[in-house]
Amino acid sequence: MLRGLLTTPSKSACGLLDIESLDRAEIEAILERARYFQPAPGETYRRLETLRGKMIVNLFFEASTRTRVSFEIAERRLGADTVSIAAQTSSVSKGESLVDTLNTLVAMRPDAIVMRHSASGAPHFLARHLQIPIINAGDGTHEHPTQALLDARTILDRGKSLEGLRVAIIGDIAHSRVARSNVHLLSRFGADIVLCGPPSLVPRELENLAPGVRLAYDMKEALRNADVIMMLRVQLERQHEAPMSAGEYFRFYGLRLEHLALAKSDVIVMHPGPINRGRELSSDVADSQRSVILNQVENGVAVRMAVLERILP
């Protein structure tokens, strides 16, 4: 059973709030189990009965396509019943507080809640007040734990080891929950991580986020000998000031085909999506042999099945 944030004596002892509070063995167990769920080439995910009779509510207070659909497919492939709610159609738009909304849902006795929310720590806040497993599907600019797990599964599928792996994460690190979850996961396994982007989006304190992290403001330096390049979307919606112009950004921090020569010959290019072609990476990179963006999406289902199975015994 997964633990929540270790520092909180949470009433809901199980759930998945973030990567930072998971230990290495738990991460390994999920990644190994996810492999069992992966379909054989050309096949679909198997339909299982593991979670038969369980009711899972997917509560998305923020727009999402891939994560929400991925969770829904994972839940249904495991035999669970699911209800998905988007915030626009809920009572939140009538001014109901988050705690009241969740209490209302919990009164209908679901077995777990999968939640995405625009506020960092929203699932941690709820976990202190509710007795139900909460799976964090992305909280503000904090963490997106299942994304880091599916990224790790994708890297391992390419035959790479996480230990000593050279990973360049490039873009809007400050506002990226994907970056934080990946840093915690990769650091736990001894990867070398370079965080790179414009100075206003790569605050200096990030260097102390976890062991093995360093910062670079020059993309070429970040890419040198990289095994993995993770590109991030510029999250204009979370910035409090006028951003760097799109042209300037792409010129200095956009990934183009010629950059790949700086990295290792078997480098892979990852992106959590949605991608903005011509903004953070060029179209030819997104469609190149080195891109594993669709493998990430595919692994999302397997990894989420593994997480759900662990949380709902």
Binding site: E20, S97, G121, F125, R128, G140, L206
Partner: protein
């Protein structure tokens, strides 16, 4: 009329330097005498053996929320919480609704306090109309109505020219200008101290520099105008260094710190508990060390709570949506004893000074002393009794304290205002 004789306590009076076992006799609301073996057949006797008897404690930074936000606190409830925290005098900030920016509001607060408050309440007036930072408030009229300082606490004046004019006006009236030092452009979007923890938690940061640049500006303006200037809830090492420098140059500068800024750091925020959200934010250990060093060295003049009650529903939200501020009246003495006295950092006379002569000197109040003829305000506390703070028992209308459940050694035992025992612990 009435008399109260406090017998056998250890009387500490920083104003006179006194520290020894003595009796304190209060008659008709004023200190009559302090000495050994005092007798008075008509007086009510309070046995203070084993306790510390000090001039009434003053909290010069409190939010009472009345008028306008009575669901969070009222003048009555705030005064009760103050009494339970050992305070005999509190000064209330002007960010009510309406803002205390004219004599009418000031008079309302003064009158209301006279009717319902167990402790002395002195209002602080706004610097600008509506605390909007543009036009000076009616400072002279408010002064006549009873304000003891001016401040746009919580909505600091960003325009340096307006601040200059405010200082000039305050100087003419011999009022101190209190500033909540925060550059609102630098702090915009921030919910906690900017540092490794804010980056880790994905919360917007409030850099130390947002406080420091305003302290620097204000000190230059204080020199330009000759005004008496007071830094509210100072929280950073650089601001402390600048205040020390200004003092060394002979400027009329003072500063206060809050118990939460020297008792805890931004490490507490990992739970996303909004009871750790306030402005200035909980800083890192480096800043906490500097604040404590300022207390030890004498650079800090005052401990104040910045008691900022918020209704439970306002604090039961996602962290970034919650308002800033925590309550503090009932835990100030306990926290200060724990962090400063029990850890051997300061002695008891210095401890009492930070709550009495310190604020009295900043505000030029005729209080904070046990000299004969002074108001009969006394705070009685001890150093040893074990107690646990339970916020559900708080006399404040709000419950937003991060210190509920904390165990304390020593705390307030009785609060005496003008010779009346307004609160005592069981």
């Amino acid at each position: 009329m009435s008399a109260l004789l406090i017998k056998g306590g250890r009387v500490i009076d920083p104003a006179s330097g006194g520290d020894g076992i003595a009796d304190v006799l209060i008659r008709d609301g004023r200190i009559e005498s302090v000495g050994t073996g005092l007798q008075d057949d008509d007086a009510v006797v309070l046995d203070a053996t084993g306790m510390i008897v000090a001039p009434g404690f003053i909290d010069m930074h409190v939010h009472l929320r009345e008028p306008g936000f009575e669901h969070a606190e009222t003048i009555r409830s705030g005064a009760e919480a103050a009494a339970a925290g050992g305070f005999t005098t509190i000064c209330c900030m002007p960010n009510t609704s309406p803002v205390n920016d004219c004599a009418t509001v000031t008079s309302y607060i003064v009158q209301r306090a006279r009717e319902v408050a167990k402790v002395n309440v002195f209002p602080i007036g706004a610097i600008t109309k509506g605390s909007l930072g543009e036009e000076l408030a009616a400072v002279g009229s408010m002064h006549k109505a009873g304000i003891v300082a001016i401040s746009d606490d919580g909505r600091p004046v960003m325009n340096a020219r307006v601040m200059r004019r405010a200082m000039e006006a305050a100087r003419a009236l011999d009022l101190p200008v209190i500033d909540h030092c925060e550059d609102l452009n630098l702090s915009a979007g921030g919910d906690m101290h900017e540092g490794v923890q804010s980056v880790r938690l994905g919360l917007g940061g409030i850099p130390s520099a947002s406080e420091d640049v305003i302290v620097a500006r204000d000190l230059l303006l204080a020199e330009l105008t000759g005004a008496r200037y007071h830094v509210a809830h100072l929280s950073t090492s650089r601001s402390m260094a600048m205040v020390a420098f200004a003092k060394s140059k002979g400027l009329a500068v003072s500063c206060e710190v809050t118990p939460h800024h020297f008792a805890i750091t931004d490490d507490e925020l990992v739970t996303y508990d909004s009871n750790y959200k306030m402005k200035p934010p909980l800083r890192c250990q480096h800043d906490v060390d500097a604040v404590i060093e300022g207390i030890v060295s004498g650079m800090v003049d005052v401990i104040a709570t910045d008691h900022a009650p918020h209704a439970g529903s306002d604090k039961m939200q996602e962290f970034e949506r919650c308002p800033f501020g925590i309550t503090g009246l009932e835990t100030a003495i306990g926290l200060s004893l724990a962090e400063l006295v029990h850890k051997g950092r300061i002695g008891l006379t210095r401890f009492v000074e930070l709550f009495t002569t310190g604020p009295a000197n900043v505000l030029k109040l005729d209080r904070g002393t046990l000299a004969p003829g002074a108001p009969g305000d006394v705070t009685i506390f001890d150093l040893d009794s074990k107690w646990t703070y339970d916020v559900q028992q708080s006399l404040s209308k709000s419950r937003n304290s991060p210190f509920s459940g904390r165990q304390f050694r020593g705390g307030p035992l009785a609060t005496i205002v003008a010779g009346e025992i307004v609160w005592r612990r069981l």
